[in-house]
């Protein structure tokens, strides 16, 4: 959708997108020639059409975990209430009894993520992220490790993935 300032015959440019209010967005455009401003106020159906395409209106703000094209997932709330569900009991294959003991001994302790590992996590779709975090932390505990770094992620990929 484009907006044209008729008196100036000039395309208007997006200035701001207001936060959603009961399914409505307020998108402000202005004319670069005369400065005239107008707002497009969407109804819930129009907002939904854009959401359903998996896009946002306007430029990304730079907060990758919330607004990048890969992370600002329109499906963020699609996992039913209560998710993420714990993953992993008997995930794919053998777990050593040593691993099980280590997991039990570290179960209550928090697992730290390095900045680089967090960045990888932030780079994947939001609807997968909680499950990924839970599964990786379980894997780390089973290794007797309480920090997830890129090396740990690579090991997990080799263990679980294609």
């Amino acid at each position: 959708m484009k907006f044209l300032c008729v008196p100036c015959d000039s395309p208007m440019t997006l200035q701001s997108v207001g936060p959603p209010d009961r399914g409505s967005l307020s998108v402000v455009y202005s004319c670069p020639e005369c400065g005239y401003e107008m707002a497009m106020l969407t109804n819930a159906y129009e907002t939904q059409v854009v959401q359903s395409l998996g896009v946002r209106i306007g430029p990304a703000t730079g907060d990758r975990t919330e607004t990048s094209s890969t992370s600002k997932c329109p499906f963020s709330a699609m996992i039913p209430p209560g998710a993420p569900k714990p993953l992993g009991e008997g995930v794919t294959s053998e777990r050593s009894s040593d691993g099980a003991r280590q997991a039990a001994s570290t179960e209550a302790m928090p697992v730290r993520w390095t900045a680089a590992a967090e960045a990888r996590l932030a780079n994947i779709p939001e609807f997968v992220r909680p499950m990924a975090r839970t599964g990786i932390e379980r894997f780390a505990r089973e290794q007797g490790v309480l920090e997830v770094d890129e090396k740990m992620l690579d090991e997990a990929r080799d263990f679980f993935g294609m």
């Binding site: 959708m1 395309p11 200035q15 819930a44 998996g54 499906f75 699609m78 990888r120 997968v128 990924a132």
Partner: protein
């Protein structure tokens, strides 16, 4: 006064750029995939998911690199069948690593993310009106999955489609748009039916719907084609059917119903144990035929018949 096409750019909404970016990610993600094979029907309950996974198993047993995407987001069953309900999703440097079965088949299924006791739901600004937007959102989800997972180098990526003739066509349009070139389509369709006139009638509608577009339709598989009795080691009729209608596309093979196969699917046991069984051999024959047909030029298969707009014979 300027018109829409006189104005360069989109005024700052950047929606077109984002859609283009999404498509680029999907194209990039599928770059290493040789064949996209969609298993559909139109009819529900004919064994699409079972056949998809078992064919993937038969192909994997031949040493091929195979991935499966459970595109039935609302009724995902492949996570259970493939034994990846408890899959761990691992973030890579750019994409998510694809969970794999014990035999090395990559599987994505929403069943790995959502417990069977819960239904797929989307946040919506227009709740209560999902009929107006739900399909669009599901295809956006499909795009997100295709663009976000590491499919790697695969010989085949198989799609287990949801029921519905119109959905089959929507997937055909979506996947076909990522074919490298119209002259050598990468996306092929296989339809599944059972020996009942009701099912064949629905599948015939899917054939007719696919025939309206430039889609490569390899043929159909008749599932539940008799009941295999392990006690008698004999094939018995499962459906008492009058003369079968001609779907107008090649039959790629028939697969009998075997309760042991159903049990293994429920348990998430892979194909390996069934390879030498009666049903296993039937599935292997279909897999062989599928491979042969995929390697033929598109002009030599059922697509030609479909493109000619030929109606299925009844």
């Amino acid at each position: 006064m300027k018109g829409y096409y006189d104005i360069i750019g989109d005024g700052g909404s950047q929606i077109l750029d984002q859609v283009a970016e999404q498509r680029a990610r999907i194209t990039d993600g599928l770059a290493g995939v040789r064949h996209l094979v969609a298993i559909g029907s139109g009819k529900g309950g004919v064994g699409k998911s079972t056949l998809t996974l078992q064919l993937a198993g038969a192909l994997r047993a031949r040493g091929l690199r195979v991935g499966v995407l459970d595109a039935d987001f609302n009724g995902p069953s492949l996570a259970r069948m493939a034994g990846v309900q408890q899959a761990t999703f691992v973030p890579g440097s750019d994409k998510v690593s694809l969970p794999r079965t014990a035999s090395g088949i990559g599987v994505f299924s929403m069943g790995s993310l959502i417990p069977e006791s819960e239904a797929l739901d989307f946040e919506s600004a227009a709740r209560g009106e999902s009929h107006t937007w739900r399909a669009t959102r599901e295809f956006a989800l499909l795009g997100e999955i295709l663009g976000s997972f590491d499919w790697g180098a695969l010989d085949l990526l198989m799609f287990d489609l949801p029921p519905g003739a119109e959905r089959t066509v929507q997937y055909a349009d979506f996947l076909g748009s990522f074919d490298r070139a119209q002259d050598s389509p990468r996306t092929s369709f296989v339809l599944v039916t059972i020996p009942s006139q009701v099912a064949r009638g629905v599948v015939a509608r899917s054939v007719a719907a696919l025939a309206k577009g430039p889609h490569r339709l390899l043929g159909y598989v008749e599932n539940m084609s008799g009941y295999y009795c392990r006690d008698c080691d004999a094939l018995k009729p499962l459906f008492i059917s009058s003369e079968a209608s001609d779907l107008g596309i090649p039959c790629l093979g028939t697969v009998p119903f075997d309760p042991e196969l159903a049990r293994q699917c429920d348990m998430g046991i892979p194909f390996d144990g069934l390879q030498e069984s009666f049903v296993g051999r039937a599935i292997s024959r279909v897999a062989q035929r599928l491979l042969e047909d995929l390697d033929k030029p598109a002009s030599a298969d059922a697509t030609r018949e479909s493109r000619a707009g030929k109606e299925p014979r009844r």
